[in-house]
Amino acid sequence: MLILGIDTSTSAISAAVSDGCGLAVSRAVLDPRGHTEHLAPTIAAVLAEAAAAPADLCAIAVGVGPGPFTGLRVGLATAVTMGLALGIPVHGIGSLDALALQVAEHHTGEVLVATDARRRETYWARYAVAPGLVDPLTEPAVALPADLPEEARSLPVAGRAALLYPAAFGDPVHDADGQPVLDVDAAAVIALVRQGLASGKALPVQARYLRRPDALTTAERMSR
């Protein structure tokens, strides 16, 4: 079953294709403000590399955040319109869960996933991981790094917040090449969709914003 994976919740614009039995292609472009420009060409590139056409796809897996809103929506909008045009299902995965799965290849035990939420804040959640397994211990949340619980901040950490606020966090988890795990890889989103489908889990495609829009209603302005 050929699945296309998409994630635009971090600085990487990531697309992947895999058939679940050997064929696996993943590409990413690093450009925190270039999601609109880079996503479609990256999807076209992974499809070409997999020698697949859009019509060969059976499902789409998309990271639903949390992540900076504008970029996050690019991935979601692309995923849902592709699903509509191709007549195939679209499944959503928490983007922090995907990062946790990436870490699980190199680490067993508890980890903190903390990504860049801009405005000096981080999107974060705690996980227990083991190779191929991700168990969320907390719901994703947004906070200033210093406001995270002490026991979370001392954990090995994945995500860009580890680079941005090194003083606030523990040691970054490194991948097989010795590089810190910073951004979501759409291949991990596909892997979690396969796990979710196998266990009959609902995988709603609903953006996780965690913040409300920056605006006061007329009623709120009056009450100030």
């Binding site: 849902v80 319109t81 592709m82 007329t218």
Partner: protein
Amino acid sequence: MGSEPIVLGIETSCDETGVGIVRGSTLLADTIASSVEEHARFGGVVPEVASRAHLEAIVPTVERACATAGITLRDVDAIAVTAGPGLAGALMVGVASAKGLALSLGVPLYGVNHLASHVAVDIVEHGPLPEPTMALLVSGGHSSLLLVEDVTEQITSLGSTIDDAAGEAFDKVARVLGLPFPGGPHIDRAAREGQVTIDFPRGLTTGRDLERHRFDFSFSGLKTAVTRWVQAREEAGETVPVADVAASFQEAVVDVLTRKAVRACLERGVEHLQIGGGVAANSRLRALAQSRCEDAGIELRVPRPGLCTDNGAMVAALGAELLRRGRTPSVLDLGTDSSMPVTQITG
């Protein structure tokens, strides 16, 4: 007729999610999902609220448009989408959606200019666009006077607002008069019950201003004048004659708009004037433009109100025209440009 190409257009530059479908120059569907009621709670359009609403609305709106047109997405020959100008985050939802469709269907993608689309929509309403045409685009987001020599390639901006857009002035004055958002229709309605009794200022219409800003507009001074006038009455303990203020304010706006538009036609030897944008729905603007155009021997073209406000049909109409004239499609790494100049018609 059946062999003419089908173009689906997506418009998300502000608070309406619009999807239009055109076959050749025939409008098949014009479907809108509006988040205006959500914005009304905030007293104006909130970009993040609009972007969230676009993402929620895009799939159902495309589905409804296809159902209305009696087609499936597989029948679509090209996708067009507003690439700018507009709210950056809102535009990105539309462009990403358009790419998702174009990539999946294997059809060309046209990223287009929102303002040029406002002009092109008249093709599906009144047939081929006479060129050159003068276009007056007035809405909450724009007040532009455009010389259209080729709607797919050559548009020149002769003037635009130097402060507030015309529709913005309607919204702000409505607030001063205690009328709901959006202000345009409420002021129009109130004005019909009133008389033009107050001589409010006409921005950039005399002396040096007229020389330097021949076809530009300014509505900020007018808005301030109305506010002061209303405040003075309130402070004096008098009742504010809402209908008369609305009528007088509206007259000042449409007088300047039509005067400058007709003058531009005469000076440039252009025999057709098109009015578009949300403010084109204003009944007084239509009436005054009609009589001034008749006096000057100019043909006036105004699409029906539903096609003047932001919609997907206008984007599909421009896409169809680009396709018909064999213009080069956009590339897959098309971006958005929130301040896209009207001289740039495709992205």
